[in-house]
Symmetry: C2
Subunit: 456 residues, 2 copies
Amino acid sequence: MSQHTQALTGFLADLNYAQLPEAVISRTEDLFLDWLGSALASQGAHPIPLFERYAAMMGPASGPAGVLVNGTTSSAYFAALVNGASSHLVEQDDLHNSSVLHPATVVFPAVLAGAQDLGKTGRELILAAVAGYEAGIRIGEFLGRSHYRTFHTTATVGTLAAAVGVGKLMDFNQEQFTNLLGSAGTQAAGLWEFLRDAADSKQLHTAKAAADGLLAAYLTAEGLSGARNILEGEQGMAAGMSSDANPACLSDGLGRRWALTETSFKFHASCRHTHPAADALLDLMQREHLRAEDIARVTTRVHQGAIDVLGRVLVPQSVHQAKFSMGTVLGLIAVYGKAGLPEFQQHALTDPRISEFRDKVHMVLDDEVDSAYPQRWLGRVEVTTVQGRTVHGRIDEPKGDPGNTLTRDELEDKFRRLLAFSGARNDEQASGLVELVWHLRHLDDLSMLTRTGSSS
Amino acid sequence: MSQHTQALTGFLADLNYAQLPEAVISRTEDLFLDWLGSALASQGAHPIPLFERYAAMMGPASGPAGVLVNGTTSSAYFAALVNGASSHLVEQDDLHNSSVLHPATVVFPAVLAGAQDLGKTGRELILAAVAGYEAGIRIGEFLGRSHYRTFHTTATVGTLAAAVGVGKLMDFNQEQFTNLLGSAGTQAAGLWEFLRDAADSKQLHTAKAAADGLLAAYLTAEGLSGARNILEGEQGMAAGMSSDANPACLSDGLGRRWALTETSFKFHASCRHTHPAADALLDLMQREHLRAEDIARVTTRVHQGAIDVLGRVLVPQSVHQAKFSMGTVLGLIAVYGKAGLPEFQQHALTDPRISEFRDKVHMVLDDEVDSAYPQRWLGRVEVTTVQGRTVHGRIDEPKGDPGNTLTRDELEDKFRRLLAFSGARNDEQASGLVELVWHLRHLDDLSMLTRTGSSS
């Protein structure tokens, strides 16, 4: 095992709450609220009820952990599974840029279910989440761009991130974290192939990453051993699933660089790969006073990862797939000025102006954008007007990125819009939840977070 | 999607009991008994109780499906999980050579748990198992040797084999089988890295393959969609996890070639990669009247896969790891004339004659053996005696292979020895189980198969 893996497991074992800067603690609360909203926003939407029925069939009738979308309880495993499925569906959860990992949707379902099961406090939940984020982000960076080309990093690396979070709840020592990474890493799975068919696997991926990570932690606590070098070993994750792995990423700035604070909140309700172009187009249209009908052609200059993920979606067949259609997203921006959940739900597939605009949009690989990626997600669009004029839009930090982040007011607003969208909670309940989350570090009883109406 | 995947899913949907040759039906009964013995033999052995405790913690207090090693019941998911963990531990379960897949340990836990849950008959169980074997073996062959180099095929492909079995129980049509492969394939995981540490992941792998496959089938039945081309697609299994995939394997001889009948029963209680050399050495020693102390050096000429899997185990640290030590296995053969469970348990780590012999054993890559593999597993050993004489041993079909298979009497005998080893069932109970399995095709109620003492 290299010094890098060793440094990582040592850091995870030693990490304690007193060590966390205030900015990390409050950002964890921000991220938790953002995650909670994302999960509740999917209530009732396909395929979430399938996971609810599966949990009811295979799990206990009730248990210590709460299922957000239906207010039932179950064992920690099934709560993590259903909450993991729920929180990625509306594509409003956070993203860490350079790892291309969505940490919240895998870390929070696992640590919340584990914390409720184990009777842990808000502080312990925060510490566990930080551990999951710090490890997951570094492992994502370690596996690199070649991994992301075929594997859905949030699924694969997510399994380890979730596992680490639950391991931290259980106060694992370094030896246990070593075994834990082994048992989580050897379960890591998730392929991008589903995307071109608009299949439901993204929800399966996040559900399983959260639940499998939790399973790895509980079995490690019982004494299950795992491969000691699952990340870097000759038959480990990098060997099997990456061609550009960089071990130094695993220990990068541990305890000094808080990767959790580098995460981006999603402003638009679409795949993050569309956001730089969406912001650049919005900015350009406002600056040049352009309307959708003024535009004849849009060329977005993007990184290769955007082409890999979005390039297959030509004519979206579902609302979910529309979030991976660059043309559809830019169409909503151009026609409606925003690409939120209601715009997707009501217009993405049905408004002829959107499909018309979609056909005007083209992606091309841009060297500058591509070399900045994944550290920075640059937005570059080139618009040709119907009058034949060519204008350029550019943003260097999309809305929601660390340098252009959302305030607590904006996060609250987003949270309320997400809950209103699905009707999962009424206004009063939403206020109660916001109140709880802004006091997360002081909560002794975490059961209220998942009990419907408990806070009203 | 290619014609090959399409042919496979079409075959799976159309497959019916009337189509199965008698040899396939009776061989499935043979394989089922062999699997049942393997699972029961691990009762009480680490790490199986960890999985039992996990199932008790996360699952319902009781349910329609039986857990073999402790006689409790649970939901189908947890029964598949614990039975999947149990049946690979003693390394006595079957193997299909050219796919390097151990089908029983992933297919039977899933289809038995599913069949008990769904109230299916013995005939339906047999049909489901055949579907799982036929699909799993072909998918293993499709992914090829490059996959097996890093990935534990029984874990990865096992997830799909288990899923197909349960899908057949549910009488899936072709469209459902397509979705099922997508949801199973995107969960496929399992790396060989654990082996060099003698870690417990092999049990985790088979447990999760069986349980995840079952999960995929239940969610598909509920309506979850999956990638339509998970095997061959540009971001599918072959793209991410193989460099020598051959799509033609997927449809090879469907309905004419019954791959299930090509499986090998294990005679020695060790990794199958050691068996050709073990049989060749045993044959040579008998022919030349050699005793262990007459031997100064053994060179086994092997295929690359044997070196990949066994090459890392120098001094075994556990009984389980000793099964992957070529020197230890040949030592037991030389000193005790056999390498069964009692020999491993009592002598593999403690008898100084075994460790002494181990150091005399060397593996070298052999071109003839390597090119025959994985279709044929040739055994070639070169022994130098203490007197300086060099003699050669060779076998072309290890004991248990289709052309050198075990009779029903030998299978019964093996079954009784496995049960006696762990004490999981007494003699009378063993006889009852044998009786049940030889009538598997006529059973209406499968609950008796897992109920302790029910048959006595």
